[in-house]
Symmetry: D2
Subunit: 344 residues, 4 copies
């Protein structure tokens, strides 16, 4: 199957390209980059020398539609939707990694991102987390691939939200992310000299991933759930550790918590429930599409602690997108995604 | 004044030695290390070549008592108390960086650390956080220097606990620490090859600093306060970021929160209340005795978010110890502690 | 084909396991670790949970011989040779990642490593660098996989040594390596707290890889070549940058130098000659089996500067071993080794 | 003494500010930054909150001349010279950290940097390395503070150059630097995401510090000396490791080499000759004005290996500048520079 990668030169795009090259059923037929248009991929990014026989092109939906069956769009929000519209018009299936189709409520989108460039497509998009929306994926022509933080937060929380463990419709998510999550932003604060050894919270209570987590948490709980989302930057490149705190509605034990997780995920290939007492670690998921999860109950305070780890560039971006494509095609969801994490 | 440093070759000890060398009123008269006894300081640690004209000696309290007026003990818990007892018997003022005299309740100590080697000294020890116990320090002959995590957590929480903002006597502290906090532990998990790029929670809900935070939080609140303490390891060496979540007893605003912090700390040299919207960062405290703090109210969820940053090896260890010594002597608390943080 | 991995729990072993799992023609039938014997791979190393359905076993050559067709040995020198001997007696093809069979001259081996445990096998071993010894590999039953530094140094130097560019039979190799090269050594100097931000030379002029580089450089030059080898530790995990300095025998230009490299490597899959002015970078080879090379002439001083980059755990260890196995089997050398480097 | 810091907001400027604040004889009377003019220092750089009661101003030489006795200029080359000229006209002593006055030969300057903005001042500038030009400093009104790489390379080489050990007037300097050496340059290649774990050579044989090293090496040798200078970037922030290779003119031993170093530097406070076999390490100089050095002879190849380590932002920039000011004033050269290195 011929695939196109729109916005291939950003961090998410480059990592997705690595996955696409490895996928046994996909042929990368086009890669776009406005800044790099005309350059050979291997010239612009020497890591790819000898592996990709393509040049970046400018993103022309009509041309792309003639050359690819499926497109991954890895563009900034608002820039993505207009191209997605054209690709959809031309019948190309789209897996969109931007925020443009993740929020089902247009008002919420506009409050956080400004006016929507293609509102007519929102209702038809499927939220691309196969563990939650697998049944909708085979018919999906537009998949809204979830944000990295929402992926890390929602996967371990989902079974508890569904089971009604949450007391007061309020959850705290304290997340820690490597700097690749910010993309290739030319901001002095992200220079190695300023970021090495650094850690700090940012956008406390007002990060754009908060409404996305709230939307899906509310669906899972069957009721409106508020999320206090506090992201932190880590002095490394890849990975998210999410630690969520849930006030329990009743008395629960850690054993019950782990049993609920295990029941929910026993058939999932990419969600690994760790043994009792083990905490998810970046080193165990780095370079893979895994989401490692665990949970425990702090009986004294009546809190559930929900822990997870993902590679933000894979399960939090292109890996999840490919998992979705596999699901839409009826392929094994693990195709192209079996690479073992790199411990070192 | 002649000072001795007992347990000088560990990470906290070495950093304290740097401070002592810089202190205008102190002369380092003895440094001990059982493993390094007999070695010149500059041979064992080339960084100190040319700066320290001393050899490590074994810790003999009688000999030390004849050579120093004050001793800093930077030994593991349980190893510290017996030496502290001998030093106190000999009339040496002691600033103890171990956990041995931090917990006032012997039962609590024994539940977390095992039997206490010098229980008769516990009641006379002053908890060495000058911002909270300044009035007790001038008469203190035994100062229990607080743990690194408790320092980071308690300083920003103190004004809120005192003011009764906490709804349900329950606080969540999600802390992130550089690996120097673990000391020079020969555990493969702390090797650079395994720790670089790593992040994970550990000892969730059962870290030994939890009862210490609870003890002081309860004193501040005037009532029993429970703390759910969740520490994480950061892929860097120095510093702690503490993010605490407090369910508010009533309706409060971020403005009120910051006003309370500012009122509490306007005369403190080492606690800096950041401007609205600014988050404490390791880069701004690294290498200094500062604790940067801020707070905000998430009105939707009714939570107070309390943020802080310290250098665990300075305000979380030897810097705070020196601040305490300054206070006991009636010196300016900043003596030896005016070094600016190193941004880079 | 069934393969065994002897010494699977070290850093080189774990990375090799990742490659073996990905290889389309290989089935991992046994993994050994004396320390971990009896543990499930995924319990000992959570990164592998769900990917490997095996337990570590103790290395019993007789049992292994009945279960595998080929064995990779990733043990320390001297520990490897006795097991290799037994495996060979049992007819198992062996790819040995230790130093035991790299040096052809027993006296040299003994001068650097002590007495040899299986000297009778030395003459039959093939030095496992396919770019230099491809023709010997199809018949090789014992492959001595080169050291990481020698791989990085020799590949870019080989064409110049063969062409007689070297003036005085003397070469300087200044190499920089990530800390994974030292293995999982419980030495305080390799703890994250002490190694982060560190860089230093070590074993100057007396590293055990020096005689290996000299052996092969001399073969290539057709005459005895001395190498002054100066390795340095880098504050990161993976990768080697090698910078070699060669006094030129005659007047040469950078254009000639690059032309010689390009001619030598135009048909090699894993050696990439970079464009003029581009320098090999760890980011472009990390996670891959590539060796990126370049060269230039400093006309003023009459020196040739020869640059290269590899991932020490792949082209410098298990990747090269698999490339050799592919060559012995007559498979495409790239099988299992096509993963793109991870830039981030 | 009142000092001004021109270009205070760059990396070298900020580190110099830390030193000036600590210096017992200096009062920082003005700090300039064109980009930050009008901002309080502690607002622009939160690390300095509470430590500096100044706002950045635009660099107006006339105003500065009325407020300061001495100025440190930490501006880019070519931007520095015009301001230096005005400050000198106004009688202000200047310590210039730019490249503008380091090269004595105008033609060389123009070949590497373009036309010189204040050529009339070049001949009067003193090269600010006290270990080499101490006698000239008391009368110096314009000090050209050396580059970071030249400082690291020249200090260990100087005794050997003076003693005529160099065979063929040609030296190889292979240097490794943390990224702070590049300054706050908004280049994607220096973002944490792209630089973490990276290492690569750059500007091979054509870095602007090469002619500076050659100039001083030639003065020391009493004859023209060529230097092949190959800098590399390290994946850390601070520090330079310099490894130089010198073909020996005659037979020499490591003992002789160390004896020569020791004789040359026995009275120097900031140059530490390490014991036999010890290699200079970033961890032992970080945060200090030390230059650690060592040397050994590789008898087989007839090469002298000369090793050194500095903190590029201190001995390679502002620390050396302050050492020079101390020397011009007749103060102890160590004033303000006695801070111990931070191992961690």
């Amino acid at each position: 199957m011929r695939v196109g990668l729109i916005g291939a030169s950003g961090y998410a795009g480059l990592e997705l390209l690595r996955i696409l090259l490895r996928h046994p059923r996909l042929e990368v037929a086009a890669v776009t980059s406005e800044q790099r248009a005309g350059q050979r991929v291997g010239e612009a990014f020497p890591a790819f020398r000898g592996l990709v026989d393509l040049s970046f092109v400018s993103a022309d939906p009509a041309v792309l539609a003639s050359r690819v069956d499926v497109a991954f769009t890895a563009l900034p929000h608002a820039a993505s939707a207009p191209i997605v519209r054209e690709l959809r018009k031309a019948g190309v299936r789209v897996l969109d990694l931007s925020a443009d189709f993740r929020l089902r409520d247009l008002g919420t989108y506009e409050a956080w991102y400004g006016s929507h460039p293609a509102p007519e497509l929102v209702s038809g998009a499927v939220y691309g987390m196969p563990e939650l929306y697998r049944e909708a994926l085979p018919d999906a022509d537009l998949v809204a691939v979830p944000g990295c933080y929402p992926t890390a937060a929602l996967l371990p929380l989902a079974p508890f939200l569904r089971a009604g463990w949450c007391a007061d419709a309020s959850i705290v998510v304290d997340a820690k992310s490597g700097v690749s999550g910010a993309g290739r932003k030319l901001d002095a604060g992200f220079l190695m000299a300023e970021m090495d050894g650094e850690c700090r919270a940012y956008n406390v209570g007002k990060h754009r991933h908060a409404p996305e987590i709230e939307q899906e948490a509310s669906v899972l709980a069957g009721d409106s759930v508020g999320v206090l989302f506090v992201p932190h930057l880590l002095p490394t490149v890849r990975g998210i550790i999410s630690t969520a705190y849930v006030k329990l509605a009743g008395k629960r034990s850690s054993q019950e918590a782990r049993a609920l997780l295990e029941a929910a995920y026993e058939d999932e290939e990419f969600v690994r429930v760790l043994p009792e007492g083990a905490t998810p670690a970046l080193s165990a998921v780095r370079g893979s599409n895994f989401c490692d999860v665990n949970a425990l109950v702090d009986e004294r305070s009546g809190n559930l602690v929900v822990l997870s780890a993902i590679d933000n560039l894979i399960k939090g971006a292109g890996g999840q997108a490919v998992q979705c494509l596999n699901a839409t095609q009826g392929w094994n969801e693990t195709e192209g995604l079996t690479e073992a994490p790199h411990i070192l």
